[in-house]
């Protein structure tokens, strides 16, 4: 029987394990030094905030693994010997494999800031990071967060929940504007400040100062301001967690280099999830995909290849979601900042400044290219279908109702979008019919 070993029990590794089990009776062992059981990394913040306990973040009950004959091993892989097909573990044991899947995820970026390894400084990625945050944020008054991305704003929300004042250093001129268009980014700037977070845009970290006990005392920002704090969160992105492969023959760059089949340069060794780097990225996709959803898709796809059904990675239209404090965010398709020249877009924002819809289309063909949503939920399947068949903008705007996914009784804004569209294309107007009242009622 084939002996399949998976390093990493995050979403990529575990999804692969589950899907391999569905298709094969091979021996499956998942090694992790982080936790005994799979948990949802994206839910770590809620443990700190007291919304959940660790046990609630485990997507499967503990009996699930034994029942499905998936061995879980708590150990740390020190090195990989590809010639001997052997793993050296921290416990002193070795582990042999026939097939090896590397799904080791990421680690928080540290850019060589002075003081970055002090006590009370840490990232927010792993269970251990959370323990560190828990330990060093007890009874502190202020924390500084460095790096304005998705994890940074989550960490800010976490600290706020414990009544810790937060100074948020963001290198860019507006929050996460490498992805969010200016209006959405501005909305989140406002919302961050509404939550009494001290947001410092265009501000970098220069160094972190220790106190007499080697614990963080303050930071000094780019402009030279000293900000006293009891904790520093480093959330300036993550990079593949591949240090343990240095001595191996597995080819790496920033991440573990793979082809579209998740194959590394060594036969029988695969990589998936955050730690993998596509040697030739698919058009419009990044070489390293560090999102929960892509981790899951990598996992289910590589499982096929491992089980003998060699399957290339072919993701559908891009999608992602997040929540910035109280404002939900969804994106479908290619909305990035700045928008490429061949795209045109319309943007509607509610007067309350917390709901927005942006629709982008190809200037020439007037086909839908992307939808960005703030505080509003759309139906993934509908948006996905539109994007796949390059639906005409007019049709999309006309049918917007089909995509609504906000809870019942929420106000919907499709008429506002139609009006914007009509202003933009007065010669190709949409005339919308009246809603059927009874039908609306029966649908609650």
């Amino acid at each position: 029987m084939k002996n399949i070993v998976i390093i990493g029990n995050g979403v990529a590794g575990i999804t692969a394990a589950r899907h391999i089990r569905k298709r094969s009776d091979a021996t499956i062992t998942v090694i992790s030094a982080e936790t005994d059981y799979f948990f949802s990394r994206t839910a770590l913040m809620y443990i700190y905030m007291g919304h959940m306990k660790f046990e609630h973040t485990k997507p499967y009950e503990d009996w699930f693994w034994e029942k499905n004959n998936i061995n879980l091993m708590n150990d740390y892989v020190e090195s990989v010997d590809t010639d001997g097909r052997r793993l050296q573990l921290r416990s002193g044991n070795t582990m042999m494999w026939d097939v090896l899947l590397l799904a080791t995820g990421s680690k928080p970026n540290k850019f060589g800031w002075p003081g970055q390894d002090l006590k009370g400084v840490g990232g927010m990625y792993s269970w251990q990071d959370l323990q560190n945050i828990e330990q060093y944020t007890k009874n502190i008054r202020r924390a500084v967060i460095v790096g304005g991305g998705l994890i940074g704003i989550e960490l800010a929300e976490m600290l706020l929940s414990r009544n810790i004042e937060v100074t948020f250093l963001v290198r860019e001129s507006s929050f996460w504007n490498i992805v969010l268009p200016p209006e959405e980014s501005a909305m989140i700037n406002r919302h961050i400040r509404e939550h009494h977070i001290d947001l410092r845009l265009e501000t970098e970290l220069r160094k972190i100062l220790p106190d007499a006990h080697g614990r963080v005392r303050a930071v000094i920002t780019g402009p030279g301001e000293e900000i006293e704090c009891g904790f520093v969160g480093l959330t300036a992105g993550v990079s593949p967690n591949i240090g343990f492969l240095k001595s191996s023959n597995i080819k790496t760059d920033r991440g573990i280099l793979i082809n579209e089949f998740f194959e590394t340069n060594i036969p029988g060794v695969y990589a998936a999830g955050d730690c993998a780097q596509f040697e030739k990225p698919l058009p419009g996709r990044r070489a390293i995909e560090q999102v929960w959803y892509t981790g899951r898709m990598h996992g289910e796809t590589v499982a096929r290849t491992i089980c003998g059904e060699r399957t290339a990675y072919r993701p559908g239209p891009w999608f992602n979601s997040a929540k910035f404090l109280d404002i939900g965010y969804q994106v479908y398709g290619d909305i990035i900042n700045p928008l490429p020249d061949h795209l045109e877009n319309l943007y509607w924002e509610h007067p309350d400044g917390k709901h927005a819809i942006r629709i982008a289309w190809d200037r020439e063909t007037r086909q839908l290219k992307g939808i960005n949503l703030m505080g509003i939920r759309f139906r993934h399947d509908v948006c996905d279908a539109w994007l796949r068949r390059s639906a005409a903008l007019k049709e999309v705007v006309q049918d917007l109702k089909a995509a609504l996914f906000d809870p019942e009784f929420y106000k919907s804004y499709e008429q506002e979008i139609v009006n914007l569209y009509n202003d933009k294309f007065p010669d190709n107007r949409i005339t919308s019919g009246k809603k059927k009242r009874l039908a609306t009622l029966i649908n609650f």
Binding site: M49, Y313, D384, W386, P407, K411
Partner: protein
């Protein structure tokens, strides 16, 4: 921005003040149980009516008459003894000596045989006064079956007659004396009436100091916690760190308090008479009469739904579904469960809760209810048909269109309490598969129990027979009343909120929920739709599902949630950080969808979007 703007301390002060005011009110409320003196007088007994039993009680209670007790407990103790003593006196007065049997047997000799004839009774028990008249008459009734029977010897007849006499004497405890039900009633009303002192003299003041402060404190606390200076959005911070909401000491204390309250209310209301006094003014205003302990319960219940409902409105002010749903349960509790029945009672009409549906309303088909409805003219007949229409039309039709939520989380009183008072505890429900298994066994057993009980009651109603297949319908009825209605629905269902979550009754016990659930599962337009491939398996939905449904299990594999138990509270969709869940009524044909996660076309054909 000043420090003060960032962390408005004033809010914290307000919150603390609210808590202190609430706790003061609560303390006064508990303390008020001890704030009366108790003096039983002949006049007070007299107010309960006339008659032999009350006369016997007046005699038996002679030593405690006009004596003032400082403690409710010793008063109740002595009064209970007096009632027992009165009962013993009445029974002694009317009971027939067993020797009477032997005497009659002796008289029954005819040609060496012994033949019983009822005329013999007059010889041995001549009717001289009321007592002997009763004894004589009862003897005739009870011995009717012996008439003309022949016995070979005297002893054999005597044995039968002694048996008859024992039956007669046993029946005295409910025919002549206070039966256990009326004794319990009497104990309650006499104790309530006998109370005097600072509480009774300043009722309005104490109402303010208890209910007033509780409501005021709660409002201040909720206003400063969930509204003032906060931004609309999910507010679950610290829930699993608080000793109140994570089965800590406050939760356990609260559970013990609520369980004790239910036991007292159902079985020992005579110790809660001071609380009942506090709601007397409201009772007089609503129905023109004094408050019973059930009126107290109704008042507390409605108050809890309203006050904690306002907490819900503040907490979920960004969510119209939650706002409408909460307003709905507050309305139905206040109007339908509380005020309308009281007004009906004051008009001497059947005090019916028109939104209560059998089999949750387990006594709807009990003879006293049917008789009352049928003897109340057009209105009574309307109520009877309304009740039946709810069962056979409203449940299937509304559940088809909206799912069981139309009732369980929008209308029902139990649901109303769970969604308001119980909301802080929703995360404590067990999500394991094991719990789901237990749930299914229990809830459908209770449904069967309820149906059997009702069938038995109706059998008795139409045939007059109290026994089916050797089982007494009355014993099924009393078992159901005690086990299900009192212990399960009340003591466990509500008392265990802080320990097992807020839907213990609805999830494990409610027979109506079982019925609605079967309809919802097999014939409904309702489902919770999961949004393509957007689930991040975080677990908020499952954690905050009060029914213990592992919502995430479905969401993370892209499967619609179609579960019999889902009450459609909508909190899973509200707490989901990625907008993955939506409660929907839609074309029933695609409810049970094939699990599908949108976004990976490596091996999967993308599905076409539903319309």
């Amino acid at each position: 921005m000043t420090e003060n703007d960032r962390f408005p301390m004033k809010n914290k002060t307000l919150k603390t003040s609210g808590l202190i005011i609430f706790l003061t009110g609560f303390f006064v409320f508990v303390l008020s149980l001890t704030l009366s003196n108790y003096t039983l007088t002949g006049k007070i007994i007299h107010r309960q009516g006339n008659g032999e039993r009350l006369a016997a009680l007046t005699d038996a209670a002679a030593p405690m008459l006009n004596v003032t007790y400082a403690s409710n407990i010793s008063f109740v103790h002595d009064l209970k003894e007096a009632i027992d003593k009165a009962n013993r006196a009445i029974i002694a007065k009317y009971s027939i000596d067993e020797k009477v049997g032997e005497k009659i047997a002796e008289e029954a000799a005819e040609d060496g045989k012994y033949i019983f004839r009822s005329t013999l009774i007059d010889k041995v028990l001549p009717t001289e006064d009321e007592i002997t008249k009763y004894q004589n008459q009862t003897f005739r009734d009870y011995a009717g079956w012996l008439e003309g029977k022949t016995f070979d010897n005297k002893e054999a007849l005597a044995e039968q007659l002694v048996f008859v006499i024992r039956n007669i004497n046993n029946s005295l405890s409910y025919k002549k004396a206070f039966d256990s039900y009326s004794a319990k009633n009497l104990l309650f009303w006499l104790t309530k009436d006998a109370a005097s002192g600072i509480l009774r003299d300043n009722l309005r003041l104490w109402i303010f100091l208890s209910f007033g402060l509780i409501i005021l404190g709660a409002f201040l606390y909720f206003y400063s916690t969930y509204y003032r200076g906060t931004i609309a959005g999910i507010k679950n911070n610290g829930i699993f760190m608080s000793p109140a909401t994570a089965r800590g000491w406050i939760g356990i204390a609260l559970g013990v308090f609520m369980i004790s309250f239910y036991i007292m209310l159902y079985f020992y209301p005579e110790y809660l008479t001071n609380w009942v006094l506090l709601v007397d003014p409201l009772s007089y205003r609503l129905n023109g009469g004094p408050a019973s302990h059930w009126f107290l319960y109704g008042t507390l219940y409605t108050m809890a739904v309203a006050v904690m409902g306002i907490r819900m409105l503040l907490k979920y002010r960004h969510n119209p579904y939650q706002i409408l749903r909460t307003l709905s349960v507050i309305f139905f509790q206040t109007a339908f469960a509380f005020i309308i029945p009281e007004i009906l009672a004051s008009l001497h009409k059947p005090a019916v809760d028109l939104k209560n549906i059998w089999p949750l309303d387990y006594d709807f088909f009990y003879s006293y209810n049917l008789d009352e409805l049928m003897n109340s003219g057009m209105l009574g007949w309307f109520m009877l048909f309304w009740g039946i229409a709810l069962i056979i039309i409203a449940v299937p039709v509304f559940t088809y269109f909206f799912g069981k939520r139309w009732y369980c989380s929008w209308v029902c009183g139990c649901g109303g309490l769970a969604e308001t008072l119980g909301d802080p505890f929703r995360q404590l429900s067990d999500k394991s598969i094991r719990a789901w298994k237990i749930e299914r066994y229990l809830i459908y057993s209770v449904l069967v129990f309820a149906v059997v009980n009702t069938a038995g009651v109706l059998y008795t109603y139409f045939t007059g027979s109290y026994s089916v297949l050797g089982i007494g319908t009355e014993s099924i009825k009393s078992a159901y009343g005690f086990l299900i209605s009192s212990i399960f629905a009340g003591v466990v269902g509500t008392g265990f909120y802080p320990l097992m979550g807020n839907r213990v009754w609805c999830r494990f016990g409610c027979p109506l929920a079982a019925y609605l659930g079967v309809v919802q599962k097999f014939k409904s337009r309702f489902r919770i739709t999961t949004n393509g491939g957007q689930c991040i398996s975080c677990g908020n939905c499952s954690t905050y599902c009060e029914m213990g449904i592992d919502v995430r299990w479905y969401a993370q594999r892209g499967q619609n949630i179609v579960r019999a138990s889902c009450v459609g509270c909508g909190i899973c969709a509200a707490v989901c950080p990625r907008g993955v869940l939506r409660l929907e009524n839609n074309d029933p044909s695609d409810r049970f969808n094939t699990p599908h996660l949108t976004g990976n076309e490596s091996f999967r054909e993308p599905v076409d979007a539903p319309r």
